[in-house]
């Protein structure tokens, strides 16, 4: 939509400000904020942030606005980098139970008549719909970037396929090449799709890996797991690429680390319910964990020992962590903010929790020089909050992505306003 949406910012902003729609670039001065820079400068009280051409130009006190610069009075409210929404199907899944709206996974077994068809070349990014309602619903909650990932179905394959980090401002070229990631599911939740055995998973992983190695040519007649394209794709990830392994059990994590070391892979652990048990090993290899801080029950035998202190213990050990919300990863991706607050309640330092939503995921997915900090040169992806950014009663007052102020309306706010009780007493 190119229409400029004019609206009044809620009274708390204290000034009448006209906000542009998502397509109009702006130079903005956000004045008098509590700025969580996520740099060595730490948190600056009553500081200004100047945005020019979509980038952070300056961070400091008493910055001059200049001509054509929109001034936002923050009045001491918190300003953070835009938040990471976790491992999602944003833009590739509109209504989870409606197959015609879901593009996050693929199955071939009917066509081939085999139960196992690994397709690492399956790439969800061409299916991405930047206009998905779920994106807007999460954007107004301060979620500005998220991993858009394939979902391995129980009857799919342990190779989920490829995903990448999307910027959530409706742009069509949403994905940064540096963030491309291959997803592999291991452990109990994936055994049905991969030989009905954990041992078979590692057997198949080794075989697929071997197929990518030209030094060990296959003889004619050898059954191959991968298509020629699949071999090319997997080879790229094995040459120093990033593979995200969905895995919970400590023993399986150790296997993943060993496999990764043998093959030059940079692994990311997704899930990691038992990761705290191998925290030292993860820290030593500097392997990050994407975890759900809500998880404290053994959903499976792989998750025995799931703990609300997983985040705190991993951080304490020096493991880079970021968050995702497994219970509703796409539609309620924003729940990572609640999750981060919960991790704080269970021992994670507050600053580490904010880093886990900003700087760390940017770094983990190859965007560490672009996103996740409020520092000169970084993309101006910013959120102005009504209060403590991790508090459940706090809301995002305004979101900027690459300096553009985002509409704070979504399909949900449209529904809200249609059905708002008529007799509502107005609050000042």
């Amino acid at each position: 939509m190119n229409r400029v949406i004019q609206r009044l910012v809620p009274g708390i902003l204290g000034a009448l400000v006209v906000l542009a729609g998502t397509t109009q670039a702006q130079d903005v001065l956000i004045r008098g904020a509590k700025v969580y820079t996520q740099t060595e400068r730490g948190t600056l009280e009553n500081a200004d942030v100047l945005v020019r051409n979509g980038r952070i130009a300056e961070v400091g006190k008493g910055l001059a606005s200049g001509a054509g610069v929109t001034v936002i009075e923050a009045r001491g409210r918190p300003l953070t980098p835009g938040l990471f929404g976790g491992i999602t199907a944003l833009g590739i899944e509109e209504v989870s139970l409606e197959p015609s709206t879901v593009d996050s996974s693929t199955v071939y077994e009917e066509a081939r008549g085999t139960a196992f068809e690994p397709r690492p070349e399956f790439d969800v990014t061409p299916a991405f719909n930047p206009d998905s309602v779920a994106i807007g619903v999460n954007r107004v909650e301060g979620i500005t970037f998220a991993m858009v990932a394939p979902t391995a179905l129980p009857d799919g394959t342990m190779f989920g396929g490829q995903g990448a980090v999307a910027r959530l401002d409706g742009r069509t070229d949403a994905f940064a090449a540096a963030s491309r990631t291959l997803f592999v599911d291991l452990g109990a939740s994936a055994t049905a799709s991969s030989g009905k055995s954990r041992a078979a998973q590692f057997m198949l992983l080794e075989q697929a890996t071997r197929e990518t190695q030209p030094a060990k040519p296959l003889r004619d007649g050898d059954a191959r797991l991968l298509t020629p394209t699949g071999r090319e794709v997997l080879a790229r990830y094995l040459a120093g690429g990033r593979i995200a392994f969905s895995v919970d059990r400590a023993a399986d994590i150790r296997q993943v680390l060993a496999y990764s070391e043998r093959n030059g892979v940079h692994p990311v652990i997704i899930g990691g319910a038992q990761a705290w048990q191998v925290a030292a090993l993860l820290a030593k290899s500097h392997v990050p964990v994407v975890l759900d801080p809500f998880l404290d029950l053994p959903g499976s035998f792989d998750q025995l020992g799931a703990s609300l202190e997983n985040a705190a213990r991993l951080h304490q050990a020096g493991v880079p962590i970021t968050f995702t919300n497994f219970s509703m990863p796409t539609h309620a991706a924003h729940k990572v903010r609640h999750a981060a607050g919960l991790a704080v309640a269970h021992g994670l330092p507050w600053d580490a929790a904010l880093a886990a939503l900003t700087t760390t995921p940017a770094q983990v997915f190859g965007l560490g020089t672009e996103l996740g900090r409020i520092a000169p040169g970084y993309s101006a992806d910013l959120v102005l909050w009504s209060g403590d950014p991790l508090e459940v009663t706090t809301v995002a007052e305004q979101v900027w992505i690459e300096g553009r102020s985002q509409s704070m309306r979504s399909r949900q706010t449209e529904l809200r306003d249609r059905y708002r009780p008529a007799t509502t007493p107005s609050k000042p």
């Binding site: 209504v95 499976s300 509703m328 529904l415 708002r420």
Partner: protein
């Protein structure tokens, strides 16, 4: 209580001691009240809509004795709650703990008897596995009472059970004495998907409604047979007992009772108001269809559960006295959940007589009902509604108690109520809120500073829990 409709002559066996009844499957729950306790200087949200700052709560013999400042309680154990908040124990009207237990292995998929669209004869309590580790984590989140329901695969899924959230080896030992069972029904996509995919009825929403109507029509017929039998039996007995042998009809035969039908018994109990009806229903139009169904068969709906579109009919629900048991932020996972909004709880709460409830449906959500309520409260406030914490706390205390038919026993901190109390480390409407102390019937059930070691669940015993829950 006599929620069982037809148990012949053996209905009125009276309860003694801790046992509510010696009927089969009845509660064996026993309270173990601690010493008299006074919680001093807290911010108290009492569940009735009141907030008392700097207030005490006095507990004696497992009951709330008084709430107010400076209570006289020389003999009581003192808990200094300065800076802390106190609420009633939380109540969840919609849980599957025990019937969909952790770990979610094949052996414990006991929540849906998805073999027939009407399985009103099944009781969730017969699936409850008391060793589900989820009970303890819910307790750590302040949940002292919960209703465990069958799932939503069926039009009429069966009876739910209300439990006290105490560690136990049997469900009977958890069963809330005297609480009615609930009847679980389901609208919309789930039943028609489950049976439609098998080329069986129902496969459409109109098939759903025909299914409920036929089931209740059958129950009406069954009720007439039962009533006729009762009349015939009474006539027979009165004839036999008339003065000596004079009028006795030697040829009269004792009437035969009709065969019991467990499905129809449940539906008759619902029509008699003995079993509150809880309906899984997302869409506004379908909820109103269910209100019509309730009118046709003269039963009362306690609550619509999930009710993602309840905000569209908030006035109607308030008029009918039907609660909306809701989430704060779940939406979009299926078409009937596509119109979810953050303000659902607040809008359902808004009308006079509005009854909003935060429910979980989920082993994670039940641990943080207070934070779901906090989200609904703050979004409502931003939409211009005046919802202070003392109002929103009702969504997780007195309102669910009302829907479960136990509001005379729990849900508020009024004198005489069971002493289910949570002492929070601060404002419960915060992401950092944690229960420091949870009392059930006046006994300390959780002390966060002294977590149970080993874990309460037998299943977790000897497992790598790392000393943390």
């Amino acid at each position: 209580m006599a929620w069982r409709s037809f148990s012949g002559a053996a209905l009125a066996v009276l309860a003694f001691g801790a046992y509510a009844s010696d009927e089969p499957y009845s509660s064996t729950y026993q309270a173990h009240p601690g010493p008299p306790t006074v919680i001093r200087n807290a911010t108290v949200l009492d569940g009735t809509g009141r907030r008392l700052d700097g207030s005490d709560v006095l507990i004696r013999d497992g009951k709330i004795v008084a709430v107010g400042p400076g209570l006289d309680a020389d003999d009581a154990t003192v808990v200094d709650a300065k800076g802390r908040w106190v609420t009633p124990g939380l109540i969840d009207v919609h849980s599957h703990l025990g019937v969909y237990a952790s770990p979610g292995v094949n052996a414990s998929q006991d929540g849906n008897e998805a073999t027939d669209p009407v399985t009103a004869g099944v009781w969730a309590e017969h699936s409850v596995w008391p060793q589900d580790p989820g009970f303890a984590t819910a307790l750590a989140g302040g949940v002292t009472t919960l209703q465990v329901l069958p799932g939503s695969a069926n039009l009429i899924g069966g009876r739910g059970v209300t439990l006290r959230n105490v560690p136990a080896t049997t469900y009977q030992a958890m069963k809330f004495p005297g609480a009615p069972q609930g009847l679980k029904m389901a609208c919309g996509e789930n039943p028609k998907r489950v049976y439609g995919s098998r080329k069986a009825a129902p496969s459409t929403r109109m098939g759903n409604v025909a299914g409920y109507r036929q089931a209740f029509a059958d129950a009406q017929d069954y009720q007439r047979q039962q009533e006729k039998y009762a009349r015939d039996l009474a006539a027979y007995e009165s004839k036999q007992s008339k003065d000596k042998d004079k009028d006795k009809d030697k040829d009269a035969e004792r009437p035969e009772p009709p065969k019991r039908d467990l499905r129809l018994e449940t539906l008759v109990a619902a029509m008699k108001g003995e079993v509150p009806v809880h309906i899984h229903c997302y869409r506004a139009d379908e909820m109103v269809t269910m209100l019509d169904l309730a009118r046709e068969f003269n039963f009362r709906i306690a609550a619509f559960h999930h009710g993602v579109e309840a905000y569209k009919i908030a006035d109607r629900l308030a008029q009918e006295g039907v609660c909306g048991a809701l989430w704060s932020d779940w939406w979009g996972f299926k078409m009937e959940a596509y119109d979810g909004i953050w303000e659902n709880l607040a809008f359902v709460d808004a009308p006079a007589n509005g009854c909003a409830i935060v429910h979980s449906d989920d082993a994670d959500g039940i641990q943080r009902l207070n934070q779901d309520a906090a989200k609904g409260m703050s979004r409502g406030q931003r939409a211009g509604l005046d919802i202070p914490p003392e109002r929103a706390i009702r969504w997780i205390t007195s309102n669910p108690a009302k829907a479960l038919g136990i509001a005379d026993r729990v849900g508020t901190l009024e004198p005489g109520k069971m002493a289910d109390v949570v002492v929070w480390n601060g404002n419960p409407f915060s992401v950092y809120a944690l229960p420091d102390l949870v009392y059930i019937d006046g006994a300390v059930a959780v002390d966060r500073k002294a977590p149970p070691k080993p874990p309460a669940s037998d299943f977790l015993l000897g497992q790598p829990t790392g000393g943390a829950r």
